[in-house]
Amino acid sequence: MISRLVISRLVQPLRTTPWIGLLAATMMGCATTQDPTADGPLRVTDAWVRVTNVNQSGAAYMTIENRDSGVVWISTVSTTSARAADMHETMRMDGAMAGMVHMTQLDSLSIAPGNRATLAPGGTHIMLTGLVRAFAEGDTLPLALTLTDGRTTDVRAIVRAQQP
């Protein structure tokens, strides 16, 4: 039940009005420098990671759109640039623990057809542990998102000092 609530908060329905959709597509085209995922079940845009030193942890952020006809489940993230890549969600606590944050590892991330998931600072992200080298602004970091059915989408995240 809890996980379904999280999904509903993360995944926003796409607008279906044609001209708005066209405008959105145009804007996404402006904001994205490459789109290696155009023909797969997932369309990933605005993928980025923050400037990070070797051996440190980092996070990858992006927008993932499900262009398939059914629900997709991302079950694995892999990269050659870090010792491990896991999907996490940063949770802000309330009540007596207000102000505290903790992270929860996600076993998978589901996206309904036509919807998109936004991975952003302070929310869902791909945690990168033990980066194999320093990543400077302008570098790219390769990632692969694998669905439960085995299909894989390659992503190249751009290294940035600040959130775009």
Binding site: S3, N53, G58, M97, Q105
Partner: protein, 199 residues
């Protein structure tokens, strides 16, 4: 989507969280601060750390120099680097006046963060940022003073453990009084506006 459930918080964390509640009890959105004002401002004790280069660093008040304090850890992938990046923006926006502001990162994970590691981490965001990591006793005392809670999460992964922790940024004025705090996500522009008030 499925996920692991949160571990139960130890009693010590709840005690510190209660201390934070005491600080927050005197807070309100007044005095013109964009953050949560601490009213009346709370005089903070001084703590001494050994920096990565071996020099001493004291958190005592410095005339005409407000101080921003954040508690985190260098293995933190999301909240900590996001906060430090916000500080970068604040510093850049302040221009020449930024030299008067003390940006201080304090590790709540001294077991992994040596003074050198903490300092190097802070300085990767800006060469003037200060990164501190003390012994466990000093870390516990400064966390208690600021009402900062932290708990090491059980983790069996080879990649190591995570730490749940308070995520606020604290603003201390040049008389050593805690005047406001900023929840994670409050926005760097709010922090910038309030720092400017103190310059």
């Amino acid at each position: 989507m499925t996920r692991r459930m949160t571990s139960r918080m130890p009693r010590s964390v709840l005690v510190i969280a209660a201390a934070a509640t005491v600080i927050l009890a005197g807070c309100g959105l007044d005095r013109g601060f964009h953050g949560v004002a601490v009213d009346p401002p709370r005089l903070m004790p001084t703590f001494e750390f050994r920096r990565g280069d071996g020099s001493a660093y004291r958190t005592n008040a410095e005339a005409k120099r407000p101080m921003l304090v954040f508690f985190g850890y260098t293995h933190c992938p999301d909240v900590c680097p996001t906060t430090m990046a916000d500080w970068q923006r604040v510093k850049q926006a302040l221009g020449d006046e930024a030299a008067r502001v003390r940006f201080v990162f304090v590790s709540i994970d001294p077991e992994r963060d040596t003074p050198q590691v903490a300092d190097r981490y802070a300085q990767q965001f800006d060469a003037t940022f200060v990164g501190l990591s003390g012994d466990s006793a000093t870390t516990a005392r400064i966390q208690e003073a600021f009402g900062v809670a932290s708990v090491r999460e059980p983790d069996t992964r080879a990649s190591g453990y995570l730490v749940s922790h308070s995520s606020q940024v604290f603003l201390v004025d040049d008389t050593g009084r805690l005047v406001a705090l900023y929840a994670f996500g409050r926005g760097w522009d709010a922090l910038l506006a309030d720092v400017k008030q103190l310059l």
